[in-house]
């Protein structure tokens, strides 16, 4: 509303407003963490976790499988002058497991389940169900946000591991069937740059990214504007903000963990 009234002359005002909103969004993270630690309702938590895993895993699988495939085709072509196939396997396995597959897995969870969290909470907001809970003396943060955060924190690492596996399968399938590389050698090359610790790092990153995407999506749902338009806007904001936060956090974690090794 404000944007339309103020127009282009008020750019700095809008920038300040955007920064203030970002700060308010970040201030929600500790509140979400506290609400989660205060003991979410167990049945809802288990059901929501199962729902998140069941609905997100197919999306994660499709996204990472095809990104593994696409990276392999690309890497085989660009590394052809240096000896092609073997190097492509090593590069895809290394870059994929360490960065690309975990990030895309978290982005897929944000798109599938983060958006769902936002749209559910936003629907509850615009149909006054959250106010109804508060009137009854119940805390919507503990009852509704807590279980969803737990679901995201438990489900995302699982999705990251599924994504790593699916990406490797995509790379292997393309390497063996389409590029005609030796099957055994391709699989060995894919894993040759990876140690078990890389998968642990991926899962730990998944924990952190899961919390962030859950908290970001829940917050956007809770502050939805009225009406169907508000629900749509909240869903949209949740997805894009979760993606921005997840990719930033993924870099921060990577440089904290791997930065020292590279330098």
């Amino acid at each position: 509303m404000n944007g339309a009234v103020n127009g282009a002359g008020q750019r700095p005002g809008r920038l300040v407003a955007a920064l203030a909103d970002a700060a308010a969004a970040a201030a929600f993270w500790p509140r979400a963490a506290i609400a989660t630690l205060r003991g979410p309702p167990p049945v809802d938590t288990v059901l929501l976790t199962l729902r998140l895993v069941v609905t997100s895993v197919p999306v994660v699988f499709a996204v990472t499988f095809f990104s593994g495939a696409m990276l392999t085709v690309q890497a085989a072509a660009s590394l052809a002058p240096f000896g092609g196939g073997a190097l492509a396997g090593i590069a895809v396995g290394f870059g994929g497991i360490r960065e690309v597959f975990p990030l895309l897995a978290a982005a897929s969870v944000a798109a599938r389940s983060g958006a769902e969290i936002a749209s559910q909470l936003a629907t509850m907001r615009v149909t006054k169900q959250l106010e109804a809970l508060e009137v009854m003396g119940l805390d919507p943060l503990r009852l509704l946000v807590g279980p969803r955060i737990v679901a995201a924190v438990v489900g995302t690492p699982l999705c990251v591991l599924v994504g790593c596996g699916a990406g490797m399968l995509g790379a292997q399938a393309i390497g063996a069937w389409q590029l005609g590389l030796d099957r055994g050698a391709m699989w060995t090359n894919l894993w040759s740059g990876i140690v078990a610790a890389d998968l642990t790092v991926g899962a730990v990153k998944g924990l952190a990214l899961g919390f962030l995407l859950g908290a970001v999506s829940a917050r956007e749902g809770l502050v939805a504007e009225p009406g169907a338009r508000g629900v749509g806007k909240a869903t949209n904001r949740a997805v894009i903000r979760a993606l921005v936060v997840v990719s930033g956090a993924s870099l921060a974690l990577s440089s904290a963990i791997y930065g020292r090794l590279a330098g």
Partner: protein, 264 residues
């Protein structure tokens, strides 16, 4: 049998969804081009998508470029080929990461916005009101958004390339201590102008595809607040998957089934 039905139902639903997109989107986009206000609306949609996505594109692609430089250098220092870092980073960003992630951002910000807007117009009966007034909402409302996404995506792809390379430079030169002259001197060794044009062409395709998926999801949303949220959610998921499948198919088409070098 029940297990088979469990698998078959989502497959049928996906096919029905794809059929709906194919039946709805191309005529809407084509009619928008020839309608009274469609073309102008498409331009303003493109501008609005570029403005709304520019910030997120920069915030997503900068870190991704930096990550690429960090992990690339780890791998290359073990092989002792540090000077291959800049060309490899730039080539990977221009060919793959910029178009891929720019399209994902456009799907999540612009595409979800299209679905949410059209869904809200459906839920508040605005689309029906237009039809009653003799205005075709397909060519006047949905079509311009599809074309707008197709126009905005390559522009944002250009921004994504710049931000990705800037992120890679920031990580490689000031943080990890790669010599600046080495990085800048070799940066363009891995790419040609053809790579940039092909990358742009890919994103036009991605933008049109995700615009079509999102406009269709919003146009046929259920008439309720919850329905609008679901439409935006579905639109995002379907368009992200679509972008990655398109990307794989494009690469296979460009590099040939056997993955030979680029024939240009």
């Amino acid at each position: 049998m029940r297990a088979l039905a469990l698998l078959g139902r989502p497959a049928l639903a996906a096919l029905a969804g794809a059929g709906r997109v194919i039946a709805f989107a191309p005529p809407a986009a084509v009619r928008a081009l020839f309608s009274a206000h469609g073309a102008r609306a498409a331009v303003s949609q493109a501008v609005s998508i570029v403005l709304r996505c520019a910030g997120p594109v920069a915030l997503v692609c900068g870190p991704i470029g930096a990550m690429l430089a960090l992990q690339g250098l780890t791998l290359m220092r073990t092989f002792g080929v540090e000077r291959a870092l800049a060309p490899l980073c730039v080539a990977t960003i221009v060919r793959e990461l910029a178009p891929g992630f720019a399209a994902v951002v456009v799907a999540m910000q612009g595409g979800a916005g299209i679905a949410a807007e059209l869904g809200a117009m459906r839920a508040s009966d605005e689309l029906d009101a237009l039809e009653v007034m003799g205005v075709d909402p397909r060519s006047e409302v949905a079509g311009p958004r599809i074309i707008g996404a197709a126009v905005a995506a390559p522009l944002l792809n250009g921004l994504a390339m710049l931000c990705g390379v800037a992120g890679a430079w920031l990580m490689a030169v000031p943080v990890l201590g790669v010599p600046n002259t080495l990085f800048l001197g070799t940066a363009l060794d891995g790419v040609s102008a053809a790579d940039v044009w092909l990358s742009a062409a890919k994103t036009v395709l991605f933008g049109a595809g995700l615009g079509a998926v999102c406009a269709t999801a919003g146009f046929f949303a259920e008439r309720s607040a919850a329905g609008v949220g679901r439409a935006a959610n579905r639109a995002v998921v379907a368009s992200v998957i679509l972008v990655l499948i398109f990307n794989y198919l494009c690469n296979t088409a460009l590099f040939g089934l056997r993955g030979g070098a680029l024939a240009l």
